[in-house]
């Protein structure tokens, strides 16, 4: 065997061996959104009227791919809601509103959304980050009361060990949906747009 062939085979063998150790190399769906005590309490304590949840889709200005998959160290993360992250955002919002007792499918007040940004970067050995952004709209019987782009991001310590880095990335990426919704619920214009009749 020539030296160059040997080197190539060595490199291939080492890659195969360590890829199993240092990464997850799999595709998995996110677990469902979990409303927290703090978020449920803040929605409950707000003057928000019961609200319906309308359509969520990827924004026409964004690349449609951001709705389908994010990757981390060769592993693919997909949404459990029709393989759509805008669908996952909708279900997350729905879970928050239901837990707070503020969801009413018969309400004339409706919140809808468009996914603008969806990024997960965990290739680095020391730092990783994710960002999520959406345009949220609130309308009552066709009249738009609120229309705003909200973007949030998170940065965390990563690891050179793939298995650790992937698990951390999944947790932080899933958690960023809670952060985005917390920004929405804390927005003063959103509060005014969704306030009950007697509160305005």
């Amino acid at each position: 065997m020539s030296d160059s062939k040997f080197v190539a085979r060595f490199a291939a063998a080492a890659l195969v061996l360590f890829s199993g150790l240092l990464s997850g190399c799999a595709s998995q769906k996110l677990a469902g959104h979990q409303p927290s005590v703090d978020s449920v309490q803040s929605i409950r304590n707000s003057a928000m009227a019961p609200i319906n949840v309308g359509e969520f889709k990827v924004a026409p200005t964004a690349n449609a791919k951001i709705d389908k998959v994010v990757t981390v160290r060769g592993s693919q993360l997909t949404s459990p809601n029709n393989d759509s992250f805008s669908g996952y955002l909708r279900e997350s919002l729905l879970a928050e509103l239901k837990s707070a007792g503020k969801y009413d499918p018969a309400s004339t007040l409706t919140v809808s959304g468009q996914l603008l940004r969806n990024e997960l970067n965990a290739a680095g050995f020391s730092k990783a980050d994710a960002s999520l952004g959406a345009k949220f709209s609130v309308a009552r019987e066709g009249t738009v009361l609120f229309d705003k782009d909200i973007v949030t991001q998170d940065t965390w310590e990563s690891s050179f060990v793939g298995a650790i880095a992937i698990l951390d990335a999944i947790n932080h990426y899933t958690d960023i949906y809670s952060k985005l919704l917390q920004w929405l619920f804390a927005d003063e214009e959103f509060k005014r747009a969704t306030a009950g009749q007697g509160s305005r």
Binding site: F6, L30, A31, S99, G101, L167, T174, D175
Partner: protein
């Protein structure tokens, strides 16, 4: 070039040994820490008139929500709440009574060099045994319908030994890591609920 090839052969051999030993020497044994007393439901002070509560459970890893683990352990948490007997009905429905019972379990590594320890054990084919300890901090928040909040905590731990390492002191061996996690979840939630029930503000 001959030297290079011999070097690479040795490197490949080392690579094989390290990879195989990391995989094979991972004879991990889980132990449930014995410091937290296993609370029996009968020991929990029952309120005169138990009320309903909406349960919100979150499992965290190093303070960040871990949705997969939350799904996996939700049943254990709900069973512990029911067994405690301090609530009439506990469920996800927000209209139960207006009261909220928040249970948060945060898994925190008590040793940041877990991977380094495992790697050292693997390199010595298990001869250099090590123990890694994971802490579990359970925070129980009870928010009454009028907004009064009572917060209690309980702490637990799982010790995992790798390689030739004896059992940690004051710990109970689990059949598997999976069993240890379920046991710790039940015990730490019951301990947190007992602390809650002992508080006059809850009663």
């Amino acid at each position: 070039m001959y030297m290079d090839r011999r070097f690479l052969q040795r490197l490949l051999a080392c690579t094989l040994i390290i990879a195989a030993s990391i995989s094979a020497s991972g004879c991990a044994t889980a132990y449930v820490d014995g410091a937290l007393k296993d609370v029996r439901p009968a020991e929990i002070h029952k309120p005169l008139r138990p009320q309903d509560a909406q349960v919100l459970f979150t499992f965290q890893t190093k303070g960040t929500g871990n949705a997969k683990a939350t799904e996996l352990l939700r049943k254990d948490v709900m069973t512990a709440i029911t067994d405690s007997g301090i609530f009439a009905t506990a469920g996800s429905d927000p209209s139960l009574s207006g009261a909220i019972l928040g249970i948060t379990i945060n898994n925190v590594p008590l040793d940041d060099s877990a991977f380094a320890k495992g790697f050292a054990t693997a390199l010595t084919l298990g001869l250099a045994g090590n123990v890694v300890t994971d802490g579990y901090i359970c925070t129980v928040d009870f928010i009454a319908p009028k907004g009064t909040k009572v917060t209690k905590t309980a702490r637990h731990a799982i010790h995992t030994t790798v390689g030739a390492k004896g059992a940690p002191a004051n710990a109970v061996k689990a059949k598997s890591l999976d069993e240890a996690v379920h046991t710790v979840t039940r015990q730490v939630v019951l301990a947190g609920l007992k602390n809650l029930a002992d508080d006059a503000a809850f009663q």
